[in-house]
C-alpha cells in the first residue's frame, strides 16, 4: 500500500517537475530538465534473454536565485516497475572554499557510486563489489560540505565531508538492503569523507571513509574504506577502485571487499573499446565471491548517447566452472 502510494507520488512529482521546468515562469530562473536512460538486451548463458527498459531518470536542476541551487532525480527502473527518488537537495555555493549541500544526495564515497549512470559508465552493469559491498547507488539524507583548493596550474585538492542518517539493518545482514533509512531509526548518524587530488596531467586520485552504527540495539558498526584512481590522456583511460567494508556482527567482524580495474581507448571519436575486471570477496569461501571480466566497445553516434556491445564473463572465485556469462547490448542516452 505504502509502496503503491510512493509510486503514484513519484509519477505525479516527476510530471509536475517536468512541466514546471519547461512551461512556468520558473523556466526563466534557470530551471531545466535533464536526465538519462538506457535500454538493454541481455542474453545470459544459462537463462532466458530479455529486453530491459533499465531506467529512465529525470533530473531537474535549477539555479534558483543567487547562489542557491536545487537538484532532484527521479528514477523509473525496469519499465516503471521500480520508482525512487535518487536525490533531491539544495546547495549553497556562495563561499569560495566550501559548498553546502543539504537534503538527499548521492554519498560521494569513491568514484563509481557517483559516476554510475549508464551513459557515463563505459561498461554495462555494476562491477562486482559495488552493489553488495558498497551498496551503490548509495544516497542518504543529511548534510554534505565539499570544496576544492587550487594546487598548481589546473590541479586541485578536493574534499568532501558528510553526516547522514546511515545504513540500518539486522546484525550481519546484507548491506545493500540497509539503504533507505530516510527517517532515521535511531539517534546514531554516520559520518564520512573523501580527500582527492585532480592533476592537470590526467590523474584523479581519491581516498574515502564512511562509518556509522547500522544496528543500534546491539551497537554494531560498519566502516567502509575506499581508494580510487583514474588516469586519462589523449583518449586513453585507465581507472580502478577498491572498497572494503568492516561489518561488526555477533560472531565478530566481517570483512567484505570489492575492486575493479578498467581500461578504454578512444580509437576514433565514434568508437571506444573497453575492458573491465572486477571481483568481490566475502568472509570464508563464500559462493558470493564472484569475478567478472567484461570486454566490448561503445559506439557514439553523438555526444548524447552510446550503443555498447559487451560480453561479460561471470564466475565464482572458488568454483570457477560455475559461470553465468552474458551478452549485453545497451543503448544509453544522457540528455
Amino acid at each position: 500500500m505504502r509502496a503503491a502510494m510512493a509510486k503514484k507520488a513519484a509519477v505525479c512529482l516527476g510530471g509536475m517537475l517536468a512541466l514546471a521546468a519547461t512551461t512556468s515562469p520558473a523556466a526563466g530562473q534557470g530551471l531545466m530538465v535533464t536526465g538519462y536512460g538506457n535500454m538493454e538486451f541481455v542474453a545470459p548463458q544459462g537463462g532466458k534473454s530479455t529486453f530491459d527498459a533499465h531506467n529512465l531518470n529525470l533530473i531537474v536542476i535549477g539555479q534558483l536565485r543567487g547562489d542557491l541551487f536545487a537538484a532532484g532525480e527521479i528514477e523509473y527502473e525496469h519499465g516503471g516497475e521500480e520508482i525512487a527518488l535518487e536525490y533531491a537537495y539544495l546547495a549553497f555555493t556562495r563561499w569560495k572554499y566550501v559548498n553546502v549541500v543539504a537534503g538527499k544526495f548521492i554519498v560521494p564515497f569513491g568514484s563509481f557510486n557517483v559516476n554510475h549512470p549508464a551513459w557515463i559508465n563505459k561498461v554495462p552493469g555494476r562491477p562486482f563489489g559495488f552493489d553488495r559491498v558498497l551498496p551503490a547507488t548509495y544516497s542518504d539524507v543529511g548534510l554534505l560540505l565539499r570544496g576544492a583548493l587550487a594546487a598548481g596550474y589546473l590541479s586541485r585538492v578536493t574534499w568532501d565531508a558528510w553526516i547522514v542518517n546511515g545504513l540500518a539493518g539486522a546484525p550481519g545482514g546484507d548491506l545493500r538492503g540497509m539503504r533507505d533509512n530516510l527517517l532515521d531509526v535511531d539517534a546514531n548518524k554516520a559520518v564520512g569523507g573523501r580527500l582527492g587530488y585532480v592533476s592537470r596531467v590526467g590523474f584523479d586520485l581519491g581516498a574515502s571513509i564512511h562509518t556509522g552504527t547500522y544496528n543500534d540495539s546491539l551497537a554494531l558498526d560498519v566502516t567502509f574504506l575506499g581508494a580510487d584512481a583514474t588516469f586519462q590522456k589523449a583518449g586513453f583511460e585507465v581507472k580502478g577502485e577498491w572498497v572494503q567494508a568492516t561489518q561488526q556482527a555477533a560472531a565478530g567482524d566481517q570483512k567484505k571487499r570489492g575492486y575493479y580495474a578498467q581500461a578504454s581507448y578512444l580509437l576514433i571519436p565514434q568508437m571506444e573499446p573497453t575492458v573491465r575486471f572486477s571481483q568481490m570477496e566475502f568472509p570464508g569461501d563464500s559462493p558470493r565471491d564472484l569475478r567478472e571480466f567484461s570486454f566490448g566497445f561503445s559506439v557514439y553516434p553523438s555526444d548524447l548517447g552510446a550503443l555498447r556491445l559487451f560480453y561479460r564473463v561471470n564466475k565464482q572465485v572458488t568454483v570457477p566452472e560455475v559461470r553465468d556469462n552474458q551478452f549485453i547490448a545497451q543503448l544509453t542516452v544522457g540528455f
Binding site: 594546487a151 596550474y153 589546473l154 590541479s155 586541485r156 585538492v157 571513509i209 551497537a219 555526444d303
Partner: protein, 210 residues
Amino acid sequence: MSLARQHTQQWAGRWAVAALALAVLVAPATAQQKASGAEVWSSNCGRCHRVRAVDAYDARQWETVVTHMALAARLTYDETQAVREFLVGSARARQAGSAANGGQVAASTANGGLFIEAAARCCDPKVGASIFKAQCAACHGQAGKGDGPAATALNPRPPDLRAAGRVAELPDDSLVQVITAGRRGMPGYGKTLSAEQIQEVVAFIRTLKP
C-alpha cells in the same frame, strides 16, 4: 571504543596529515597562474563524460549546468568562474551573433567597426600566440594541429588550422567572424575577447605552418 572506530580514527588522522602536507607543498603555485575557462573546460569536462558541445545550451542553461557540474566535479571557485565565463559568454556571443545577422557578425555592425579600428593598429602574433594558448589550444592544440586535449572527444574534430585550402584561404574578416560568433560547435569569443585580441589571434593563425 570498538576496534572499527579505532581503525577509522587512525585512517582519518593519516589522511588529514597527508592533506595538510599536500596543501603546503602545492599552495605556493596557486596564485601564480590562473587557467582560462577554455582550459578548465577541456581539462575537466571530459573526465567523467563525453564533452558536451559549447553550443549545446543557451546562456541561461549554461549558468545552471555549470553550477551543477562544478559541484559534481569539485572545481575550485576560480575554475568555476572561469568556465562559467567561457561557456555562458560564448553562448551570449552566439546569441548576439544570431540576432545581429542570421549567425554572421557583419563588418557593418558596431562590433565590426571596432574590428576595423583594431585592425588599423594591430597586430602582434606573439600576443595572439598567448591568447591562442589560453583560449584555443584546448581544442586546436598548441600548434593549431587540431590535437588539443579536448579534441579526441569532439565530433566534428577541430580542423587543422595549418592545412592549406581551409583556414589559409579564408580572408581575415571570415576568421574574425568565426572567432567572434562561433561555428559548428566552436564557441564564439565575441564576449570574451576584445576586437583587438581577436585580430591578434588571427595574426597568430597566419603564422602557423604545416
